[in-house]
């Protein structure tokens, strides 16, 4: 069970979020101030942090958390919409949401943050006819055949898998996998995706797993 540390001073919002996440199968530790949270941090997978807190503001708390526990993802919740706030928040936080957020969207974003962490990836995923063991980097088709991918192909696929249902632009995908700026007109990604499809799709001419969103990028639907 994943544990969420929720730092929110508003009683109504706090209790509601706690209840909602517990209903979704998480353990939630809820505190109303950012002081003395160190004891919880060792036992936490993700932090939901409100910007406007009494005494110690959310930015300071967030930066402290990142300093002591850099691997714990932080999602900032803000009722302020100033662009400055957002930019400052995203300097250290992994995600940022403005109130009034939809509980489903908050949950989805928390899932994404958790999945991004290698250690918290679900072991097994099923996408289309494929069974994917993310721990062992093994992909097995419904027919029981193991599908062998090159390193780049696997990186591309797993990048799309860690952002399920999200459309990744070609720039995002290229820069996420190659770790260097995308150069316009570069066909490398396209070529890799074509070969990747030949391996994983039942009908590469009519792909069912990696969807092309014309003019934008790619998406893996789960």
């Amino acid at each position: 069970m994943k544990t969420i540390l929720l730092i929110e001073d508003d009683k109504e919002i706090g209790s509601f979020v706690k209840e909602d996440f517990e209903y979704r199968g998480f353990a939630v530790t809820w505190v109303i101030s950012g002081e003395n949270i160190e004891e919880f941090l060792h036992n936490v997978d993700v932090v939901i942090l409100d910007v406007m807190l009494p005494r110690l503001d959310g930015f300071t708390v967030g930066q402290r958390v990142k300093r002591t526990m850099p691997h714990i993802p932080i999602l900032m919740l803000s009722a302020r919409t100033s662009v400055d706030d957002k930019l400052e928040g995203l300097r250290f936080a992994d995600d940022y949401m403005t109130k009034p957020f939809h509980p489903d969207e908050l949950a989805a974003r928390i899932e994404v943050l958790l999945r991004r962490q290698e250690s918290h990836r679900p072991e097994m995923m099923k996408v289309g006819h494929l069974h994917i063991n993310l721990k062992e980097n093994r992909i097995v088709s419904a027919a029981g055949e193991e599908i062998i991918l090159t390193a780049k192909q696997y990186q591309i696929f797993s990048y799309l898998l860690t952002h399920p249902n999200q459309i990744m632009t070609k720039e995002q995908l290229y820069e996420g996998v190659w770790n260097e700026p995308y150069i316009n007109g570069d066909k490398t990604l396209m070529v890799h995706i074509r070969y990747l499809r030949e391996r994983i799709e039942k009908d590469p001419g009519n792909p069912a797993i990696i969807e092309t969103i014309r003019g934008i990028g790619y998406r893996v639907k789960q």
Binding site: I13, A79, S82, P100, P103, D104, I167, T169, G215, I216
Partner: protein, 448 residues
């Protein structure tokens, strides 16, 4: 008095006064020097003046009235040594030449009366050269006459020569005095100019702080006073700026707090609406819960736009333009909006070229424009089930097949969202056109 002493005006008046006094003083000094020198050269035994020479000659004639021929010759030789160019001779009563100095003087030996008259005629007048003086020797006019002739050229006194030679000195001296005056004046004004320029430079407003730097006041004259006032102005400017900054901070805080105070209860309402949706509800109840949720989103966006509009219209919305590839930003924005339109079964047409299209704009602002426009389509043009986003020829086109902006929408409030777009477009020096009718809306954004 002290104040007067420090005044630039009195300083300059002093310069003029000195110049006015120095001019006659110089003239006097020069004359004195000049004549002193001349005087020295004039201390000679000889005369240059015709009248003086005539007097001298008559005096000589008188003194020689009963002198012997040798005495006369001796006297003539002595005079010759003084008047080097002169010719002197004695014609006695009988018309015979007795003494002539120099000896080589070509003079007829015997003079008739007509000779004498002719000689006299020739030697008369102011212009006759040589200058001739004739005097009867002795008081009785029977000893003949003595003649003194000297070329006019030898009559010019050294002082005249000197004056002629050094006349220009006066002009030079005057020029020097004038130049000194001009140089001093120029220096005086140059110094003033330099200080004024210094002040002017100090007044130029630096870009980072917007407030000039104080300057050090070294003198207490008019410019010094100006510098003092300038420094005083800076102090006040800084105080004003500080106050303005504090007010601005307060206002920003106020807006942020207002937004916070509105959003917090909205979040709670949404939480409860969400909880309600999970309860077993009638169809109508479900509809209400969904509508509640929808309205909460709408309220959130409204607050967002209201805050943005307030900040934008007062120029307080942070703006950081940079060279960005708008194709990339548009692509990312659509990637986020795509599922929303997809879920509503929109036909989505996208045409974004592969090449970069660089605009110098703030990416956050541009993102905001796209979000607002797409949000409008999502809220007000659902019936058209169509959205197209194209980039071509340095232009972004967003199109829908909704009922148009003039149609009565189920929800009001297109206004504030579009106002934010309009302000941002204007601020980023872009232009836009809206073509809207009952068949849809087409928005074109161009880089100027």
């Amino acid at each position: 008095m002290n104040r007067l002493k420090r005044s630039l005006l009195s300083q300059y008046l002093l310069i003029i006064l000195i110049a006015m006094m120095i001019l006659p003083a110089t003239l006097m000094l020069l004359s004195t020097l000049f004549f002193h020198t001349l005087y020295k050269t004039e201390k000679e035994d000889r005369f240059y003046n015709g009248t003086d020479i005539e007097a001298m000659w008559h005096k000589t004639a008188k003194e020689l009235s009963s002198a012997s021929e040798d005495d006369i010759e001796g006297r003539f030789t002595k005079l010759k040594s003084i008047y080097k160019d002169a010719s002197l001779f004695w014609i006695d009563d009988s018309g015979a030449k007795r003494v002539s100095v120099p000896d080589t003087l070509s003079i007829r030996q015997n003079w008739s009366i007509s000779d004498a008259i002719q000689f006299m005629k020739k030697s008369r007048g102011d212009t006759a050269d040589p200058f001739t003086v004739v005097a009867f020797l002795g008081e009785k006019q029977n000893a003949g006459f003595i003649v003194f002739q000297i070329p006019r050229s030898a009559m010019e006194s050294p002082s005249d020569l000197l004056r002629e030679k050094y006349d220009f000195l006066f002009i030079v001296a005057l020029l020097v005095v004038f130049s000194v005056f001009i140089i001093i004046s120029a220096l005086f004004f140059f110094r003033i100019r330099k200080r004024l320029l210094h002040l002017q430079k100090a007044m130029e407003i630096p870009e980072n702080t917007g407030i000039p730097i104080m300057i050090s006041v070294k003198q207490n004259d008019e410019i010094g006073q100006l510098e003092k006032s300038f420094n005083l102005m800076i102090v006040e400017l800084e105080a004003g700026k500080q106050q303005q900054w504090e007010e601005e901070k307060l206002r920003k805080e106020l807006i942020a707090n207002l937004s916070h105070d509105l959003r917090t209860p909205l979040t709670t309402i949404r939480g409860h609406a969400y909880r309600l949706q999970k309860e077993p509800l009638s169809e109508k109840g479900k509809e209400s819960a969904a509508l509640l949720d929808e309205k909460i989103s709408y309220m959130g966006d409204l607050i967002d736009n209201l805050v943005s509009y307030t900040l934008l219209s007062t120029g307080k919305y942070p703006y950081h333009p940079e060279q960005i590839d708008i194709n990339r930003v548009v692509r990312k924005s659509i990637a986020d909006w795509y599922p929303t339109f997809e879920n509503m079964n929109f036909k989505i047409e996208i045409a974004i070229p592969d090449e970069q299209l660089i605009w110098n704009i703030d990416p956050q602002w541009f993102r905001r424009i796209l979000d607002n426009l797409l949000q409008n389509i999502y809220r007000h043009a659902q019936s058209g089930k169509f959205v197209a986003i194209r980039v071509l020829d340095d232009m972004l086109i967003i199109e829908d097949h909704g009922p148009g902006m003039n149609a009565e929408s189920t929800e009001q409030g297109v206004g504030i969202g579009l106002s934010v777009v309009s302000l941002m477009i204007k601020e980023m020096k872009l232009t836009w056109d809206i073509h809207t009718d009952e068949n849809g809306t087409r928005i074109e954004i161009r880089n100027q």
